[in-house]
Amino acid sequence: MALDTSLQPTKVRSAVTEHRFARWTLILASLIFLTLILLLPLAAVFVEAFRKGAGAFLEALQDEETFSAIRLTLIVAGVSVPLNLIFGVAAAWAIAKFEFKGKAFLTTLIDLPFSVSPVISGLVFVLLLGANTHLGHWLSAHDIKILFAVPGLILATMFVTFPFVARELIPLMQEQGTGDEEAALSLGASGWQTFWHVTLPNIKWGLLYGVLLCNARAMGEFGAVSVVSGHIRGQTNTMPLQVEILYNEYNFTGAFAVATLLALLALVTLILKTLLEMRYSEEIAASRRH
């Protein structure tokens, strides 16, 4: 057989890839979809906030009501997140390190706020603590205001954001097992010492991740907080609620200005989340395999 001078055979496409045309079509379609659905709304927030210039933007943020809304959001998050952190760790600790009946029930309970509409979450607190209930009577008799006041906002926010920390930690701690803790205990460490020096360092990245998500949700929660807040201007409006009020008054610059702050928070959250994921992918992958 005479040697073919063009010994270089034509390249045959690998068996497991698509035609280049198909590939780029799919990529393009995805990018268009994402732009329309995700990127445009994000861009709209920033553009509309600055439509009347940077001056109007800054002025809107300095408005008294807006200012107190910002402060309120910080307070609510500042209380809810640490508390949920503590109890989330406790819950994950209990579930991951101990055997007891009703574990599955407990886990489902923890997941419950996730699957319930935020409006319903707020509703249950109104039903429980409203003026026409036993509890409500007792509270107003003692002049304790929960609903339509800051404590109510905190309660509703905590309900809605409780699962975040626990859900990140439970699979993580389950995968890590009890070996380390048992070793520490056998060496004479107390329960508290074991927790502080052994358990906590092991879960720190999952914890950070959970706190990050918890905070983002706490600051941005709308539905549940809307129901329990009473919308008292300057007093019980968090930033998301303030956005609603300003928007409904056609104060678009104001609404979008506040929205910009929240959007920036979201972007920072995303960036931190990505950084955390990149650096500690194995640890977090364990908690992702939910």
Partner: protein, 347 residues
């Protein structure tokens, strides 16, 4: 269907996996690609399949140039090391897959596909399991489904990639015999890749010994075992011992004395003497022998394996003695001479 590979070269990102490989595979033969990892045997198999494309060279199926054909067009049957069964399909659907995806004209009617698939399952002794899912099968059963699936398309050539690799030793032995039977019955040209020389020697009509991207030797198991053409083949295909020797006037000299082994055509100079542990005869203290101290001795099945220390920093020589030879062992000093051996030039 005969397969011919001509001057095949394959580079992955500058890393040369195959250098200038040429091979003729006869129609209907069962041929083994044998070699250690990195020898390029799997690469060669995948090139024949069309799962990779060569950097240079040609591949012929029969008289047709297959190099330009896609994997789908080559009509081959490939069995992967981990079987790659379709987990969401039943055994029957897996086996029928190749026939089901054929287009219009070439596709048999449904009843015919079913019949053929069941026939094949019967051939591989898995009748009755057609409704099971892969997750419900053992490793050996999955291997047979994979084989049946590959055979269903009446392939030009069957390609098996270390397909016994994931199984227990005993299952492996049983399946080897069974594979030979299937091959004899169906007559497909079959190429299989393995690093296990026992498997290659036991199964194959011919063995292709490969190392570092090139073919060292092609031949029947007997040829390759008895007449290896390189140190690598000698050492890889069976047990071997190696001594540095010198050729002097038609005689082989080891250290300071001749061994009583004559060579005819070899020119004088340094060389390496290769011989197998069982190809020796024991001597009673002779002038031309290799001698040393018996260091270990153990019984392995029907033979006795001993190690002899011949001193001066040489690695111990391993010998296999038949029962009669072992019987005459009563001293610690052993003297022996190779009965069959091969000489390779150093370097």
């Amino acid at each position: 269907m005969e397969v011919r590979v001509q001057n095949l070269r394959k580079e992955f990102d500058r890393f040369p996996a195959l250098h200038d490989v040429s091979l003729d595979i006869r129609s209907g033969e069962l041929i083994a690609l044998l070699g250690p990892s990195g020898s390029g045997k799997t690469t060669l198999l995948r090139l024949i399949a069309g799962l990779e494309s060569p950097t240079e060279g040609l591949i012929y199926f029969g008289d047709e140039d297959a190099s330009k054909k896609t994997v789908q067009q080559r009509n081959i049957g490939f069995v992967f090391q981990h079987y790659a069964l379709f987990r969401h399909m039943t055994v029957l659907d897996n086996v029928s897959f190749g026939l089901n995806v054929r287009d219009g004209a070439r596709r048999p009617p449904k009843a015919e596909i079913r019949r053929r698939a069941l026939e094949l399952l019967d051939l591989v002794q898995l009748s009755g399991l057609e409704k099971r899912y892969p997750a419900q099968l053992s490793g050996g059963q999955r291997q047979r489904v994979a084989l049946a699936r590959a055979m269903a398309v009446e392939p030009n050539v069957l390609l098996l990639d270390e397909h016994f690799g994931a199984l227990d030793a005993q299952v492996r032995k049983d399946l080897r015999k069974w594979l030979r039977e299937i091959h004899d019955r169906t007559g497909h040209t079959t190429v299989f890749v393995t690093h296990d020389q026992d498997e290659a020697m036991e199964l194959a009509d011919r063995v292709v010994v490969m190392s570092q991207g090139a073919i060292e030797q092609v031949g029947t198991p007997d040829e390759v075992y008895d007449n290896p053409n390189s140190p690598f083949v000698f050492g890889f295909v069976g047990q071997s011992n190696c001594l540095d020797v010198r050729v002097n006037g038609g005689e082989i000299w080891f250290e300071d004395r001749p061994l009583g082994l004559k060579v005819e055509i070899e020119a004088d100079g340094d060389a390496q003497l290769y011989f197998r542990p069982h190809d020796i005869e024991l001597r009673d203290g002779c002038g031309g022998c290799i001698a040393g101290l018996l260091t270990t001795s153990r019984r392995v099945a029907g033979t006795r394996h001993i190690e002899v220390d011949i001193g001066k920093g040489h690695p111990p020589i391993e010998l296999e003695l038949s029962p009669s030879q072992a019987g005459s062992l009563d001293r610690s000093r052993i003297a022996f001479r190779p009965k069959r051996w091969k000489l390779f030039r150093a370097g």
